[in-house]
Amino acid sequence: MQNPGDALKKALLAALITFGLSFPIVALRTDTNLSNQLVLTERWSLAFTLSGIAFVAFLLLGLVRPAGDERATPKTARSAAPPHPFTRYLPRIGLAFLIAYPFLAVAISGSAGAVKWIDNFGIQILIYILLGWGLNIVVGLAGLLDLGYVAFYAVGAYSSALLAKNFDLSFWLTLPLAGILAAFWGLLVGLPVLRLRGDYLAIVTLAFAEIVRLVLINWVPVTGGYAGISGIPRPTIFGYSFMPGPDNIATALGLPASPLYRLFFLFYLALVLALAAYWVTTRLRTLPIGRAWEALREDEIACRSLGINTVTTKLSALAAGAFFGGIAGAFFSTRQGFISPESFTFMESAVIVAIVVLGGLGSMVGVAIAAIVMIGGTELLRELDVLKAVFGGEFDPAQYRMLLFGLAMVVLMVLRPKGLVATREPTVRLKPKVARGAPAAE
């Protein structure tokens, strides 16, 4: 515990800094009125509330936290502690929850209220889990920092939409085709950047994503430019559709019409795709190719000395990651029915990278949790009308989404620098369970 005097001093300083920062942007706000004049709105109470929150938060933190620098400990605690039993059962509990989720949503908030929970939360999060697991192969396993992952998401979405609209292909065909096309683009971006690593690779992939976005904007005859592509055919199942019309599945089965069937279908489709991604990735990890990816992340030169072709290894990681990005894109386009370049900005790449890093590089469960926290959390912030009680009636929590998003990332990275799930499960074991404290063979 810190000395209370010190904690108080720090809290006062924090409050002062917060006030200093919020004074120009929060307390004094300029608006344009109807006659196009700038008017000054003063919001002193909001600025004081913010400083007050900073003061209380730092005071509590200072009183609770031990004085020593604890950030040094996580580094050394690399393997010592066996994983918490909870983490072992987490995948199974999570899976059971996910399967029951749409029914729970209907049971709790009724069929009208469930739409939001299944669509905005469930399906949205599953898309990001799929994207996170795809990028996890590239960044988490192979250690190639890819800041342009959204490019493959875009390639998948546009190729699936264009194939469906122009060639009348069924969704079930465009889905794998979108994955394969995205993987092909993964190889293409991989070829020129094979010699690059770390920062350089990050910059090149960033540029690649921008190129893809600019092509989508400017190649108007094919992509429709800013207007995007609308009227993308919705998926059908055995010829029945989920949209209102003569071949609607509910009418055919004599059920009452409801938008929920479509959402249930999309939710479980996304779940199946995500589970397939999970299965393939965990399998690949225990295969020579997956072990080579991890070895590449650990030490590229050692890989070369062991006869591993680093060129094909890197390309396969980029292609496998891009494949899942493409699948997610195809699903996204058929779910929305409309796509435009707006959906594929750098912000999306940043969010996906953040999910992978926060989840813990290489950890499938960690990435899934991070996707739930990040995407679910930001969606949840739209719901927080409670905050109006603290900050006054005109406060709109949705406007502060990105601010809180950033704050959450900073806090997480300070508390858990290696991500939510930092332990790495070996792909193979000599003994089922290691006896701790066994004498070393020396």
Partner: protein, 301 residues
């Protein structure tokens, strides 16, 4: 004198320049099949550069590095291969390889030359066992049939995996690390990491094992253990060993053949005893005046 009668690796007129710096200048020596050969010399003599050329990490400026996989290559076979633009003979017995034409991963996978590094390069986050399985990448990759056979767990792949597993286990026993098999390699003590790196190199099933300062940082007891380990590996597998070492007690103890270089030029070549008494070697190590070397019959031009 196996390095003359039955050479495994023949280094001919090897030169390596980095811009204006000549790291190796017209160096020739050979490594005998089944020998333990030591490459020694003062700091900065170019020893590691020679290793990097042999293992393909550097492309030599000029020279030839010829490796044969068996005895009885017809005379002139290497020259014939050199005149062609091939990297290796295919299907010939014995097989010949020109290492200076091959990329590093092919030198390991096809010519079967394995190496360790001066500053240990393990995969620290992966377990000890995984380090040894990764070393068998090529065999396992072929068995996994572009990962498809492996993805669906076909029996052929599972058998190959089991074999890889057994080989890893055998090497763990040899280097005495079976107890630590499931621990991250980065958590091992220094000496154990050195032994693991040797075991990992041996898992690639090499004909030539190149060790870059294997005794660096080891105490006397560990050095003696290392000597025993290397002798054991050689006698059990018949692998030829080429090592760079500063610890003269290790070098003189286990080497059949010692090559001494200084400033990228060979100054002595012979058995440990020959080299030990060579005035030029003594001069290189103790820093004697040039005149004295000349007087001692070193023949400095």
């Amino acid at each position: 004198m196996r390095w003359i009668s039955d050479p495994l690796l023949t280094v001919d007129h090897l030169s390596m320049r980095f811009g204006g710096l000549v790291a190796i200048n017209d160096l020739s020596f050979s490594v005998g099949r089944g020998d333990i050969t030591a490459l020694i010399g003062p700091n900065g003599a170019g020893k590691t550069t020679v290793f990097n050329c042999i293992t393909g990490f550097y492309k030599p400026t000029s020279g030839r590095l010829a490796l044969t996989h068996g005895t009885g290559a017809p005379a002139g076979a290497i020259d014939a291969l050199t005149r062609s633009d091939l990297r290796r003979t295919r299907g010939a017995n014995p097989e010949l390889f020109l290492l200076e034409r091959m990329p590093d991963h092919e030198i390991s996978a096809q010519a079967r030359v394995a190496r360790t590094f001066q500053n240990i390069r393990l995969f620290p986050g992966m377990t000890v066992l995984e380090n040894l399985i990764v070393a068998q990448h090529k065999t396992l990759m072929r068995a996994s049939g572009l990962s498809l056979a492996g993805l669906f767990g076909l029996a052929s792949y599972r058998a190959a995996e089991r074999k890889a597993f057994e080989l890893a286990r055998a090497w763990l026993n040899v280097v005495g690390l079976a107890d630590r098999a499931d621990d991250p390699a980065g958590d091992l003590p220094y000496g154990a990491q050195r032994r693991l790196e040797i075991a990992r190199a041996m898992c690639t099933n090499p004909v030539l094992l190149c060790l870059d300062e294997p005794a660096a940082g080891l105490n006397n007891r560990e050095s003696a253990e290392l000597t025993r380990l290397l002798r054991g590996i050689r006698s059990q597998t018949g692998v030829s060993i080429l090592l760079i070492e500063h610890d003269m007690s290790v070098v003189m103890d286990i080497s059949d053949h010692v090559v001494v270089i200084e400033y990228g030029v060979k100054i002595a070549d012979g058995t440990a005893n020959d080299v030990k008494n060579d005035p030029k070697v003594i001069a290189a190590y103790l820093g004697v005046d040039d005149e004295e070397v000349a007087a001692a019959g070193g023949g400095v031009p």
